[in-house]
Amino acid sequence: MTLEKKHILVVDDSRSVRAFFEDIFSKKEDFSAVFAASGEEAVKIFEADREDPNPLFQFVLTDINMPGMDGFETIEAIKKIDPGINTGMITGFNIDDYMKMALEKGVFNIICKMDPPDEIIRTVDNLITGNNIFGIDNYLEGSPNIVKVKITETSMLKTAVNDIIEFARPNLDEEKLYGLKTGLIEMGTNAIYHAYGYEKGSVVALKDTEEVVIQYGADDKKLIVVINDSSGSLSKEKVLSQINKGVNPSPEDLIASGGRGIYLTRYLCDKLIVNIEKDKRTEVLIFMYFNQEYIENKPLLINQI
């Protein structure tokens, strides 16, 4: 059976990084990658592709920090040629340093070069197809046991969080357990209070139509917890804005009485992915790795379909 290939254009000024991507994409039969050493070269290659009666590229993945055109300028030029092209950015530097620019330019996905290669491939695949972004199964290797808990009242959130912490305890140190616990409470309360408009801090019994579901499981390398609500009240712009307010707070943000939950979760947990189906569901995935530490270089992964 012949797999339909996904054609991508990868832009990076570093020869070794291009070689790294060539290596990981060549191992995937369903990917075909072309490489450019600069933003200028990428724009030329992309322009020629779009002049072809049968254009190939479905995705452009670009480094951010490059001599000449940087990643943001490259994406801007590429989008001028084809506004519908899917794009993503990748960097080895601290992604938080680019958060303000990402907000200004409407960039919601920045991949970290230090991510495990299989996760880089998965992220690129998700960005191209938009398929399989929802669901814990799509992010865990093998067929691990997944525990599902339906939260119907606030007190159940505490119990679920305690159960998850005990599940995680054999594989995570105290610092990571603290981060996980904080992230779970932040995202769990977000799902209960913000998604359905309840007053913060109140004791809530959710209505039958208001669903909050937590799922968790682990493979050999990581634990993932997914918090799902059926409101889809968030937007990717709102999520990015909240993260940016934490990274680059204005004097007003510093004294605000709310809006720190997503930032804090991303800060304390290894990886955070937010998937939104507008007005239908929001899914927050919290990753904690057993051996790998993400201290500063955390990806920005916000998807909306």
Partner: protein, 100 residues
């Protein structure tokens, strides 16, 4: 929630006897507001029994700090653990609220 409250003139020390959670932080807020309204100008919140702070609690701290500052007073956190210190630093609230 049980709170230990010690008053010394306009100075008040409040110590929660358990964790501050998303469903009880408003009790702490109400107790502090009551002390400010009664004339307290320095309110210390002793976090010896608190291991984790959530964003709702941080937001409450900001509201309290602003309210007491309006009256020329001061809101202080004491006995915080290293995890809470990390959260205060990450959110830059250590620049807004005095930590001792």
């Amino acid at each position: 929630m049980e709170l230990m409250i010690e008053r010394d003139g306009a100075r008040v020390n409040i110590k929660p006897e358990e964790e501050i959670h998303f469903d009880n932080y408003k009790e702490v807020e109400a107790a502090i507001v009551k002390e400010i309204e009664a004339g307290a100008t320095e309110v210390s919140l002793d976090l010896s029994n608190v291991t984790t702070l959530y964003s709702m609690t941080l937001g409450m701290f900001n509201k309290i700090a602003a309210a007491i500052s309006e009256k020329g007073g001061k809101f202080v956190l004491t006995n915080i653990n290293s995890d809470i210190r990390k959260v205060m630093k990450a959110t830059r609230l250590d620049k807004i609220i005095t930590v001792r």
